[in-house]
Amino acid sequence: MFNTALTWSDLAFLAQGAAMTLAVTAVSVAAGTLLGILFGVIRVQAGTYWSAPLTFVLDVFRSVPLLIQLVLANAFQSIAKLGWGPFTTSCVVLSLYTAAYCTEIVRGGISSVPATTRRASRSLGMTWWQDMRYIVAPLATRVSLPSWIGLALGVMKDSALVLWLGLIELLRASQILVTRLQEPLFILLICGAIYFLISFPIARLGGYLEKRWSPND
């Protein structure tokens, strides 16, 4: 017979951890995507030369391991006396990390819209903004969506690293339980299942949108 010391209150503890994972992910993906769209448009509009400084900074965020970024950012905010808590620091770092990847996704999406299509919309008297809003944005979104879903899921899993700043998110909550109950396999299985439950709807949403848009392409 299967025996476990895991209680309902332990499960509630895991759920709290999951809520923290969701909160950090939601804030970071939302802020990172907004910044990514802004930076992506700037990169396309400004051209390679003028956007070089921005590109360099984003390259740093893409190349340095997230864990190092978190530890350094935490040290920095403490030295600079910004008074950020672990949640704020985590969200700031993860947002910039997301933005660095999202910028490239957005840039790729915008570049995928043929110049001739954009010229056609401008020739009808549409302004730059109208062209962006009604032609480029919908077409680029279709192209970028699969990569963006991948990024969001990746950030959700990478957010586990914020446990190093002391945030009790899903993985940290599991670790605490493992230490106390000494049932690592069972608890990690549950932890993994919760990660899957969070990811699955996002992945399905992506699949659904792709399908919905595909008859038009």
Partner: protein
């Protein structure tokens, strides 16, 4: 009236327009013929303000296209252009493709824009295709949609840039018929084309471009019947 005065335009070191003078009056149909690289398509994109010019002037009803103070977006709603590639907006239905600019640029109500779009699409023979996405139509149908899309802005001038060049041969006829219809309705048009028979039929005047220069311009009977420019003679001999 479209007035083109001594227009020069270079891409890098290559001068594609070497001082073009041309005046097109209201209701006139001018076709432009010539070999590839002769500058004829560039001229159209300059008239629409899509390309800057290096020297000279282009005036549309007295408004200078390339003056800094000119509201190009406003001017463009007056001068429609259709390209070789029809450039349908693939995420919008045929009706939405045609309605978009009247709604957003002219600020028409949805109902009003739809009325105009349906009218123009019916006019070019696509009245049955309103809710279809462009990729489900042939190239000829998409090109006619692009024409309807430009016409929905109620332009006073239409520019056609080799609109049949990218089409399968059996689809060329339907698009040319649409242009003939517009010409017969009195639309002021400049058509860059390789269809000599079409040029001969619809034009009030035909202009021959060669290496960035307008080598000859004359009514079709004169230009095709008794070409004076030696390059035009060669060109006509090669295309017949």
């Amino acid at each position: 009236m479209i007035e083109i005065e001594n227009v020069r335009k270079s891409f890098g070191t290559l001068e594609v327009l070497k001082g073009i003078d041309l005046t097109v009056k209201k209701g006139e149909v001018v076709t432009v013929i010539g070999g590839s690289g002769s500058g004829k398509s560039t001229l159209l994109t300059c008239i629409n303000g899509l390309e800057p010019i290096d020297a000279g002037r282009i005036k549309i009803d007295g408004t200078e296209v390339h003056a800094k103070s000119t509201d190009l977006n406003k001017l463009r709603s007056k001068v429609g252009i259709v390209f070789q590639q029809w450039n349908a907006f693939p995420h919008l239905t045929v009706l939405e493709n045609v309605m978009l600019a009247p709604r957003k640029v002219l600020g028409l109500s949805k109902q009003n824009a739809e009325e105009i779009a349906v009218k123009q699409l019916t006019h070019v023979g696509l009245g049955e295709k309103l809710s279809v996405y462009p990729n489900r139509m042939s190239g000829g149908q998409q090109q006619r949609m692009a024409i309807a899309r430009a016409l929905a802005m109620s332009p006073e001038y239409m520019l056609f840039d080799e609109v049949t060049s990218a089409l399968d041969p059996q689809l060329v006829g339907e698009v040319l018929d649409t242009l003939r219809m517009l010409a017969s309705e009195g639309m002021t048009m400049i058509c860059v084309t390789h269809e000599m028979k079409f040029a001969r039929e619809v034009s009030d005047r035909v202009a021959f471009f060669h290496k960035g220069v307008m080598a000859e311009i004359a009514p079709p009977e004169a230009l095709f019947g008794a070409p004076k420019d030696p390059e035009l003679q060669k060109f006509l001999a090669a295309t017949h």
